[in-house]
Symmetry: C2
Subunit: 243 residues, 2 copies
């Protein structure tokens, strides 16, 4: 509706990359993990970065995000959404000089993903190494990637509080203790009392008790629950609070 009618000022040229912040929760080791990659060429400097890619012809942003995810890891269950668009990020891309143009602007459209840790298989190749990193023990990051990662973690934090993303990556059957542990790893130890967390979620009415009992080590066997997506959809109008 509002084109630059007077073309005194030329449009900028753009290079556009998609950067993924991919989280997973390792419930065995109580770790919140983020996926990082590194060029073998830069092995001397121990600098890692978010998996990213340039957007190709005929490809949407989301498709590019899914493509790089599929190139790096094999995964069955995931949640994916766009985060934010950062401009003028210094990406340290080795071949940026070849692709960059005079007076061009670099946009980094970031995406946030949460994947099921147990089912993922990392796929390294000849050029890049790839690894899960504990969010508590991050290596040096490519310039500009730290803010994207921080933004992604904040989104993860918020999403857990009012949306059912956890059930996208939890096993199909899970105990309430596992669900609580998942939340604890992401949100921190004292995010809520376990007893209240239980009754709050059960009262919402979208967790189905299968009455199957499992024993994880010692202690009383716990009941396995299932997320009922249909029952949840009927609640989607109302404001939901998980914590």
């Amino acid at each position: 509706m509002n084109p630059d009618e007077n073309n005194f000022n030329k449009q900028a040229n753009f290079t556009v990359s998609v950067d993924n912040v991919i989280f997973s929760v390792d419930t065995q080791a109580n770790r919140l993990l983020v996926l990082l990659v590194k060029n073998f060429q830069q092995l001397s400097e121990n600098i890692w970065g978010l998996p990213e890619t340039f957007v190709r012809q005929g490809e949407s942003l989301q498709t590019a995000s899914q493509r790089i995810l599929a190139e790096k890891i094999w995964v069955k269950n995931l949640y994916l959404e766009q985060l934010y668009t950062f401009d003028q990020v210094n990406t340290d891309l080795s071949d940026l000089s070849e692709n960059s143009q005079v007076n061009s602007i670099h946009l980094a459209v970031s995406y946030f993903a949460l994947v099921r840790y147990e089912d993922t298989r990392l796929m390294a190749d000849q050029v890049n190494s790839i690894a899960w990193y504990d969010l508590q023990k991050l290596p040096n990051l490519v310039s500009g990637h730290q803010p994207i990662l921080a933004y992604g973690y904040q989104r993860l934090h918020n999403k857990l509080e009012y949306s059912p993303v956890a059930f996208d990556v939890l096993p199909e059957l899970f105990t309430l203790g596992e669900l609580y542990q998942f939340y604890t790893i992401v949100l921190g130890e004292n995010f809520s009392d376990y007893s209240n967390f239980r009754s709050r979620l059960l009262k919402l009415g979208f967790l189905r008790d299968t009455h199957i009992k499992v024993s994880r080590g010692a202690g009383r066997p716990a009941s396995l629950y299932r997320f009922d997506a249909i029952a949840f959809d009927q609640l989607k109008d109302k404001p939901l609070v998980f914590i």
Copy 2:
């Protein structure tokens, strides 16, 4: 960190526009307003769109957003933040054909703004007409702009609930009734009981009673309050709830 090392697939070419969703609250008429523009050339079809612009050389996204805002309205107080990046939006830009390239992708980086209605002055020019539209009585919109507008309204809704954006656009001195009315216009009639809204906000401790009394027509004079930004900053760690 992860360039397309094999350049079998060419990068896409991009055109990037910035689209603004600019809201204001007309407390006189109890209306929530959004700023729309229209080309005179398209007067016959009554189709309006969000103010938008191409990004120019040497300009950041946020600068582009501020530029188009400054071109359309004069305003003293505002709140501005990025919303979302939509790709492949059909923008109906009249001169898109000139600028578009074969196999190019169009990105619309949207921004959300809230401005003080009383202080704004619309600036029409020879090419575009411009107007505030009641969100309840929207005209036909340019293809692709309705989702952006809906996304912007949702952001406004959420922001009011946990952030002090209202105080960026309210007058410096305001009564609690005016604050309540502001929230009512945006969130709807029954968002909260007035009595609880009062005591909740006063208990948070960042509203200063000036003890100046004003009479708006009939009724008991109300006290004028001031937003204390310093006191608020000291609370920014804690999770704030306004509704």
